[in-house]
């Protein structure tokens, strides 16, 4: 084997190691939609990013770019990522972690090498992002409802450049519903077209302005594509990394979701999608889906059929409970009809000639859910059922 192919193999191994440190999946934080991707310019690049749930409320965010490309910078970026994750997991503050890790990198990195990085924590309860941006910028806070773009320049030197003479304090920004935090490496901002002009903050803001409603995983791809098209055939010179974090608008409470549906059988599709989304986002055991769908289908259908005079919407509320959930359906009704008691008896042992389907729906609901309750004040009634894994 000649030296060249051995080197190729080694680079391939380095690439595997580097890629393995990128998040395998995006953290699921209630009320947040996050996505990130790296497109290296070489087999290995100096860019990396990280998104990780440290606990129920804190999400670690990192975008790092080491000078140069190839294995050397890739290793530096990797070192920073590893140290930061461990420091924050051990409970170090961002300020402390920053100071010690910078000192370590000053010691370790060869002359002329350094790493720019923006890193911080998002608190998903307060929606505050606390961060440092060591030579990394601009960091974008897109206020989507106002259509404004707020750009944060670097707050201090890159890591590994010089020991801190002063304590840098974290910066803070607060994400409102719909807002997007964008950490984008200079591979995008400095993407050149044939005339040598840069894609720039203007290119980024145009793409976000037009596409901020997309899921973040799609928005990442759309921005990358826009830069490549802007380049019009000029090759990618630098690593590209894009990380988007959006505070979504819908979720107000982590365990609960509610929605009103039109009094029509046509609403069933929307209802099933609403339930499916709730199961996925809360990680609820999918084997419960059938029973929950069926119970909602039967109860909703009854409300539509037997209360056809009402034009009001029907409210469905889902609440995560332990490993399962409870479902409440609220309707206006007159006169009261207790579905848990007043339905017809069903004898499942009758021969086919004597069977009909009257009451069969409610019979199935009672068989398939764990608890089944009815409450009414004579005007509004609420049916609640629960379902837990066996």
């Amino acid at each position: 084997m000649d030296k060249g192919s051995i080197l190729d193999q080694e680079i391939e191994v380095a690439r595997e190691v580097q890629m393995s440190t990128l998040p395998d999946f995006m953290p699921e934080m209630a009320g947040y939609d996050v996505a990130g991707t790296v497109w290296p310019a070489d087999a290995t690049g100096g860019d990396t990013f990280d998104l990780a749930a440290l606990d129920d409320t804190n999400m670690f965010v990192l975008l790092a770019d080491a000078t140069g490309h190839g294995i050397g910078p890739a290793l530096s970026a990797l070192q920073l990522q590893s140290m930061l994750r461990v420091a924050l997991r051990l409970g170090a503050s961002l300020d402390e972690g920053f100071r010690h890790i910078n000192a370590q990198m000053v010691e370790d990195l060869p002359e002329g090498r350094f790493v720019t990085a923006c890193f911080g924590l998002i608190n998903t309860q307060t929606h505050v992002f606390q961060f440092h941006s060591a030579g990394q910028g601009p960091i974008l806070h897109h206020h989507t409802s106002a259509g404004e773009f707020e750009w944060y320049e670097p707050s201090c030197f890159p890591l590994g450049f010089i020991e801190h003479q002063e304590q840098y304090r974290v910066r803070e920004l607060k994400l409102e519903p719909g807002d997007i935090l964008a950490l984008i490496s200079d591979g995008i901002y400095e993407y050149e077209n044939e005339a040598g002009e840069l894609f720039g903050t203007q290119g980024v803001s145009q793409v976000l302005e037009a596409n901020h409603h997309l899921p973040m995983s799609e928005l990442v791809a759309v921005l990358h594509q826009a830069a490549v098209e802007y380049g019009g055939g000029t090759p990618q010179r630098d690593d590209i990394t894009i990380v988007f974090i959006q505070r979504t608008e819908q979720v107000l409470s982590t365990r609960k979701a509610e929605h009103e549906f039109k009094r029509s059988l046509d609403s069933l599709d929307d209802i099933f999608n609403f339930v499916a989304e709730f199961f996925i986002s809360r990680g609820i055991d999918s084997s419960l889906r059938y029973s929950v769908d069926l119970a909602i289908d039967e109860l909703f259908t009854n409300m539509v059929r037997y209360n056809a005079d009402e034009s009001s919407d029907i409210l469905i509320e889902l609440v995560q409970e332990q490993n399962g959930l409870s479902v409440s359906m609220t309707d206006h009704e007159n006169p009261p009809f207790d579905v848990t008691k007043d339905g017809p008896e069903v004898d499942i042992n009758l021969p086919a000639e004597e069977r009909d389907t009257g009451g069969l729906g409610l019979h199935l609901v009672k068989e398939m859910v764990d608890s089944f309750e009815y409450q009414s004040d004579g005007y509004r009634c609420t049916i609640t059922f629960t379902k837990q894994p066996e």
Binding site: L268, L294, D297, A352, T357, G361, L364
Partner: protein, 98 residues
């Protein structure tokens, strides 16, 4: 998404989700193929009581000429629904695993 097609080799094929909103479509389709006595449920994910009503009508019609409705490749969730409703004693049901 609910689809119904066939008969192919004398079998009507159900797929997707037969919820209450789709039951009328299943009813009219099966009414126009009264000679068919076997339904393939391999791709059917879901059925509610309205769908059971459609099956009961078909079965009663077949009984009048001495027949029985046969369902093949039925998934275990739907088998549970047949058991809870007593339909497992009326129809000829072949679960997907057997």
């Amino acid at each position: 998404m609910f689809e119904i097609s066939g008969p192919e080799n004398g079998i009507i094929i159900f797929s997707g989700r037969l919820d209450t909103a789709q039951a009328e479509r299943a009813r009219s389709y099966t009414n126009s193929h009264t000679q068919v006595s076997t339904f393939d449920f391999a791709e059917l994910e879901y059925i509610s009581s309205a769908g059971l009503g459609v099956l009961l009508v078909v079965h009663k019609r077949l009984m009048r000429s001495g027949g029985t409705l046969k369902l093949i490749n039925v998934n275990h969730h739907i088998c549970d629904v047949f058991r809870y409703s007593g339909f497992d004693k009326l129809l000829d049901i072949v679960p997907v695993d057997s």
